[in-house]
Symmetry: C3
Subunit: 360 residues, 3 copies
């Protein structure tokens, strides 16, 4: 566990890390030492907690946290004249302030550099002396690992891979030959970057493999979830731009591009050569067909299949609503004849129109 931060020092460090994008003011005892984060209900005097959602106001009013970050002006209403009020940190975006503070508290736990016994590093691979490689990890020929990286137990860094500064491969992540990762990239356990794309030429009812000779290029500040797979390009490259966040068990096909700062929830699948814009948010288990594009800032609901290009930003959805099973059976049966039902309604409309005409 970290030695922790005085609240005033923590506020200063958060300000630096946020590079001026967050302003905060501290009210109360700024010399308290904070060593960890905790939820409102279980926090004690050494903990930082946060209030970002009004639904948790009662829990905030009762918290025993040493420090609480919240929106400006909320403290007095919450605590009135309670004697043991937490030190209050007021910020217009308390959740982002909390995120930076939690990062600083966690960073104090960073490991010591060096190659663990049982790490396999090829003779001509380059690992910066400030980086750490754990047991069972393999760094193949010609790979380069930048400064302050952490290559976890049993990870594989393929031949010729380049990994930028301050990146982390969690245990058993795999980055295959020739792929390039930027700085501050996090790859979670079991993720596979650079497997072959799914490309075959049909011939007489068989499938002839197209060797996949492209790479995966990953920008800075990208996070890739556990057991997620990103295939290398068939000839060109698959590209994940800066700041993209991918959750677990996502499949990204060959030659896809995902625009900067897009976030994709778990179990999403993206077929080959799809292009997702910047700042998109894709719900869990959504599926994106191949060879299409999605406009910047688009929201896709969970469980939705995107089967055509989306040229206009907006919020798109398409999943069958949940029903009691018996209702589902009846409605699904009716859905099989929906077009026919539409035709019957048209016939009724025509009949009534005729009837009206005759009646007059």
């Amino acid at each position: 566990m970290a030695a922790g931060f005085r609240i005033d020092a923590l506020a200063e460090a958060v300000g630096r890390r946020a590079a001026g994008r967050l302003v905060a003011t501290v009210h109360g005892n700024a010399s308290r030492v904070i060593t960890a984060v905790a939820p409102l209900g279980t926090a004690d005097g050494g903990d930082l907690s946060f209030l970002a959602n009004r639904a948790y106001r009662a829990a905030a009013a009762a918290t025993h946290a040493g420090a609480l970050v919240l929106a400006p002006g909320q403290g007095s209403a919450l605590f009135g004249d309670r004697a043991d009020t937490p030190t209050l940190i007021e910020c217009a975006n308390p959740y982002a302030w909390f995120a930076f503070a939690a990062q600083l508290l966690a960073a104090a736990d960073a490991p010591s550099p060096g190659l663990a016994p049982g790490a396999h590093v090829a003779a001509d691979a380059t690992v910066d002396g400030s980086s750490r490689v754990d047991a069972g990890a393999v760094i193949e020929a010609g790979a380069t690992v930048g400064p302050r990286c952490w290559i976890g137990s049993g990870s594989v860094v393929g031949a010729g891979v380049r990994i930028g500064a301050d990146s982390r491969l969690h245990p058993r992540a795999v980055v295959l030959a020739g792929c390039i990762l930027g700085a501050r990239v996090i790859v979670h356990s079991g993720a596979v970057i650079g497997a072959d794309g799914f490309g075959f030429a049909p011939l007489d009812g068989r499938w002839i493999k197209i060797p996949q000779t492209g790479r995966v290029l990953i920008g800075d500040d990208v996070e890739i979830g556990a057991n997620t797979t990103i295939d290398r390009g068939a000839m060109g490259d698959t590209v994940i731009e800066d700041g993209v966040k991918l959750d677990n068990l996502i499949q990204v096909g060959h030659n896809c591009r995902i625009g900067e700062h897009s976030v994709l929830a778990g179990c999403v699948g993206i077929a080959g050569s799809a292009s997702i814009g910047k700042g998109c948010q894709i719900g869990g288990a959504a599926m994106i067909a191949g060879h299409l594009s999605i406009a910047d800032q688009t929201l896709i609901g969970p469980g939705t299949l995107v089967s055509r290009t989306i040229g206009e930003a907006g919020h798109y959805t398409g999943f069958f609503p949940l029903m009691k099973h018996g209702d589902w059976e009846r409605n699904a049966a009716a859905l099989r004849h929906l077009q026919e039902l539409r035709t019957r309604v048209r016939a009724l409309e025509a009949q009534l129109k005729r009837g009206d005409a005759e009646g007059r």
Copy 2:
């Protein structure tokens, strides 16, 4: 292969393992030796087979198995006066009896304890002397592995992890720092327990990582499928209660809770902070949205998206029914205008009602 069991000894051992929950009676030669299980059609005299579904009665009547477990009173109808009848084990729940018997036959293959060459165990980790650690496995600092465990080739047990007695990590399973597993837990290959949850604070169109400081807590008798991922909690813990069975390629988000003895089929996704009750059955590829709860004993159909809390147990479903592609195109096109169709039907109803009124 095991030396096997005499049928009478096997019956006694199953009775002990079932702890009184199963009563069985043996008819015929109880001294035969059984060494394996096999399907009805291929079993021979050293094999145990079972009949639990009436659809397989003909296959049972023709089996050459040495022993057959089936419901009470079925034997005479099946075999009449056949000379080479299998030894019959009658039990009200023949499938459960078979399961316990198969476990006993398989357990005879358990490996010898010890650390294989090429196993990496941190100096301050504790591995019980009755456990086995295979080549390429990594046990990190401060981890504890209980008695009679088997840590497969290339698995990773993270710093401070605790694993209870008789548990098994199959090759290349990963349990990350601080997570806790109960007794008799089985983790299949490629599963990742304790990767970071997907938590970010938005700031000016970017996503600021919230360090995930919680754990995954797993009860007793839990089974976790190949390449399944269970994320650690953001601050509190993700909890998998006793007896839960997860199939392959399932995603469990941070701070979820899955109630005891629930079973989830393959490819299910559960977003963060969802709470699934006890004794639930979730069909394959179902998706559960975040921050909701599902009542105990609920059944969810395959491919169903659960987008709201289910407060009442029952059977719920929601997937688009399979159609010939041309029918799908027509019905899907009509579905895009379903609400409009409903409005037109209302208009027809109103018009006819008016017409009736005028007609009288």
Copy 3:
């Protein structure tokens, strides 16, 4: 990078590899040396490119590739009297010709055989002397690896596994005990072959594990994607026939059979004991329920749940179409009452029919 092929030698080698199934004629300079493949837009004089889709004719006309494979008779229309025309290889199936050529160019990069330092091979395992085993890989007791295989870093070959000639396990692939792979099989990183199937007997609200004692049998020329899982049979075997291609993150349940030369796109799930015919094409994220069969040559659309046997080949689909979120909300709400709407339309029809009858 390979030394490359003269175009005439490459054409001859492709002809041999295609075993007479492809006829091609070379026009222009057949002595140029080709070392790699590249897309039309970035290819230079040492590269081979292809034109298989008329949409790319303009790009082909402007390419600087050294060699271009295309359909017979297209060259003159594309290049007219351009001075620096690529050498043209005319073939009725240019994409398949390109695939074989790309394989030959890639094969020249094959690694040297041998056991890398840090490879763990059990004393009684057999690895052919022409095969390569990389660092951190584990070959368990009694396994057999055939000639010219490549077992990647951190892979696991379980006890008693047999792997045929010219097969490749990419880094961190897992093949578990007793499974059998044919020749020229490619297993991508993170794939798990032979984990336990999901089989439990219910007893008093708990789930009793059925030990899974079958195997996975994989034919020749099969490719298995990254993080895909194929479970071993419960008692019999799970079978993947020759020439099957599985993309990433696919789940194949116990005792399934997939017929030869079928292709399955990413994120597909197949429940236990399903049987998929030969030459089928299954779209991404489709889900196949258990204990059913699908006819040879069937096409299943993406995101489609197959809940019943398909006895007749054809193209089947079933996913909810994409809509703007507001439209989805309205149409999904109407879908909950679709059967009722059908009843109301029937009532209107009956009423009008009566009205007509009365009116006459």
